[in-house]
Symmetry: C2
């Protein structure tokens, strides 16, 4: 049974603090193993990648087979059913349309001194996307990572995806094609991250690596950070649903279960202002659990990390929501926009009962790579900006330098940075004589 709390309980604050502080995932300590693998790939390049692929993926490759050929990709994509292809194409089109609106604007202006100031956005030259193999291979994640990069204008976009025993998900290759990926490498784990960050004879190094992965991949991404950019290190998924009594308990139960089924570490929380409704949802969860293929996973998540919290009113719900800072927030209330003004800390908000979170995982348009573990307080989901960088621009005229240079010189002197001051002074002296 999940936690059942009420803000009117005497012990609520302590119970809620414990819920917030709950550690849902034990980080596997693989850092030393990963350090060894990265050093091996840096030292031996392709040789190391091929050897590790043979060992971990039971796949004997030669360097020229590390990337899928065009013919291999075409053959795999041919296996996709027309219905699956249509669904993936709809998702790609909607994700692209949403992300195209995120393209930033350059700006350049001249201020009152005559100085020209501004900035310019340019795409990151090359990006690598990690796609897990096996069970957690999600074609939707390929779209969610690759389309923002494509919209940003990244010139070279590659994928690394392990293919244990040589098996690949055809939908992953189709998603890659729809998103403009130029090369798909059959490699995974820390060795793939190392190859993307440092390059090998066959793999050209990239500038940024994004995408989910297991503990080895996460540790490798942390280690190569700085050499290349990385996206966030994602934790287990989570949802908070705020629902009033005017909802079908079964719909809300399914929304909670659609997070719980991801992973035993996932977390689903319901906040409601009606205790009877909360109990009805909990009962509906139990009924639906019996029928789910993934009931072992979803049931374990719900029992260990699930919670139903009864509040006095929706204002109180918003306060708790901001303390949770959920990855996904569903507002199944009469005036969701009004409540959303108060729920400022959330990765993605789903407004109204007709917007199940699963829509956002696939076809809504917004990105499904979102901040977890309360990091929505300070970070955002993946976007086009994650594949661009901003260069600031400044141009002084002699007049502008005359106007603001003396202040720069004075501050440089106050910071004991003499040459800074002199580089301005030498120019001012030319103006003055």
């Amino acid at each position: 049974m999940p936690l059942f709390l009420s803000t009117q309980d005497a012990g609520f604050e302590a119970d809620f603090a414990a819920l917030l502080g709950m550690k849902r995932e034990e980080a596997e300590d693989v850092d030393q193993a990963v350090a060894t693998i990265i050093a091996d790939v840096r030292a031996r390049g392709d040789g190391a990648v091929l050897e590790l692929t043979a060992r971990f993926d039971r796949l004997a490759l030669t360097a020229d087979k590390l990337a899928f050929s065009k013919a291999e990709i075409a053959a795999e994509i041919a296996k996709v059913t027309p219905e699956d292809r249509a669904a993936l194409e709809l998702a790609a089109a909607r994700i692209r349309a949403y992300h195209e609106r995120q393209r930033p604007s350059d700006l350049l202006w001249t201020d009152e001194t005559g100085a020209t100031l501004g900035w310019r956005f340019t795409p990151i030259p090359a990006a690598g996307l990690y796609v897990p193999g096996g069970l957690a291979t999600y074609p939707s994640s390929v779209l969610m990572n690759a389309i923002p990069a494509q919209v940003a204008g990244v010139k070279r976009l590659v994928i690394a995806c392990p293919t244990p025993g040589g098996v690949v998900n055809p939908l992953v290759l189709l998603a890659a094609e729809l998103a403009g990926v130029v090369t798909v490498y059959r490699m995974g784990g820390a060795q793939a991250i190392a190859a993307l960050a440092y390059g090998t004879e066959t793999v050209q190094a990239v500038d940024k690596i994004t995408g989910p992965g297991n503990a080895y991949v996460a540790a490798a991404k942390r280690r190569v950070f700085g050499r290349v950019g990385i996206d966030m290190i994602a934790g287990p998924s989570e949802i908070l649903v705020i629902a009033d009594r005017d909802n079908d308990p079964d719909w809300i139960a399914l929304d909670l279960l659609s997070q719980a089924e991801h992973d035993e570490s996932a977390q689903s929380i319901l906040i409601t202002d009606d205790a009877a409704f909360g109990r009805a949802v909990a009962a509906a969860v139990e009924r639906r659990l019996e029928t789910l293929e993934r009931r072992a996973i979803a049931g374990a998540s719900w029992a260990a990390h699930g919670a139903v919290i009864v509040v006095r009113d929706l204002d109180e719900a918003a306060v708790l929501s901001n303390r949770i800072a959920p990855e996904h927030l569903e507002l199944c209330v009469a005036e969701p926009e009004k409540l959303a003004e108060k729920t400022t800390e959330a990765g993605a908000i789903f407004l109204g009962s007709w917007t199940p979170e699963a829509i956002g995982d696939y076809v809504g348009g917004p990105n499904h790579v979102l901040p977890t573990a309360r990091s929505a307080r300070f970070s955002s989901g993946l976007s086009v900006l994650d594949f661009m960088k901003r260069t600031t621009l400044a141009r002084m005229t002699p007049e502008a330098l005359a106007a603001i240079g003396p202040a720069a010189e004075r501050l440089a002197i106050s910071e004991s940075l003499q040459a800074h001051g002199l580089s301005v002074r030498a120019r001012l002296d030319r103006l003055n004589g």
Copy 2:
């Protein structure tokens, strides 16, 4: 003597690659010491912070003295000369004017299915700014970190600054006041980062920590990342100047030295299409070095990491510049805007001979916290966006769900996420009868 290369030399590619790969800083391994300090602050709160402050900063404080009082701040600020105050106020006003243009826009639209989509930016609730004590206390860095946070709308902005022996730079406190900082704590090192990330009895935890610091501070920021947001881990400063012969060699020499004087690990590189001009700049550097207060530091940096590279033409200069991806790039050429179109990889570009980099450090307006160590390929300088986060918004209507829900259901099934599909199907079934 610095490296003197020409792209026409037989060994150029190898020499240039060595320059790019040069390790300028040995990372001090303080990670274990930092882990212990963080654990201590988490366990003992104020007690640990005060004990460590007494030990490292030779300063015996009580918890109620951890933050400067208003009277103490006023007394320190009264020591600032009118000229220094005016310079700092000019800098603050210009930095604020630049960053106010970075405020992002919210967007909400309705698409052809009737779905409402968009996003919303909100400020990070609380931010902590680390300000080093001692020699490297730069009031300009306080402005560069705090003003973007203030413009973003961060409600609670605090500073942690060690005050060895109780000494503080009055300009730092004035800069804090100008930038809307609410509290300045007398604490530094890993203990300050831990206190900001986890909170103590006296220090309220923040959501993001930015600002420069020594090896202990950098290691602590890495460790608390995830619990709070952090900015980049900055490396030693660097400048690349691309200059043609129509420049005063002395100006360019001073620009190179204004990076070199920061730190023995700093790097200054000149690329020119005129070998004689390159030699003239190198000679000017030697002349200026003799007169500099910080000649030991600047001379060591120039000798160990400096370089003059002679190229055939400016196109070749742009190619090399993009491989270097410098933090600061000065374009002292006849048509700097034209060249800037090709130099896509740079943190900040200074256009034309009248724009010494030092202007950007203080009063230009753009931020001086910029990506180092080739990370301008994939990251950007500090901005207002670093103190905000974006929440995506989606609202389906029954019609919108009918239009795109079946595709979501199909993709959910293809990913074996049954509850995801059911959460959509339950709603579609209601529509269908």
